[in-house]
Subunit: 66 residues, 2 copies
């Protein structure tokens, strides 16, 4: 699964720590999702989408391997 978190963060000028704080997870959780080390829960994806004012589908996309 691909994601656009890094880009969305840049557009809102948010650090990983900022974003983590807004959503209520650890900074490492954001980093791990952003770098594809693990797949977030749907609740987390919805919260990220909410912060970025986008849909989940705009931020996360399936790949063949999924």
């Amino acid at each position: 699964m691909k994601n656009r978190i890094k880009v969305e963060r840049a557009e809102k000028d948010l650090s990983q720590a900022d974003l983590a704080g807004q959503i209520g997870v650890s900074r490492q959780t954001i980093n791990s999702i952003e770098t594809g080390r693990y797949v977030p829960s749907t609740i987390l994806a919805l919260k990220l989408a909410q912060v970025f004012e986008k849909t989940v589908n705009e931020i996360f996309q399936l790949e063949e391997t999924d």
Copy 2:
């Protein structure tokens, strides 16, 4: 988190087992998500949305308690 899986299934006339088969998870996984017993991964949410031809946000919505 709320979800509209039951309704979307009805509209496509799919049983829980049918849906599970299309996505590649167990029937109990679908049942558990549908009845709110647990929160799916974003990959699973994207696959469900794909089957229903809707966005993840149309199928899953955050609640205050999330």
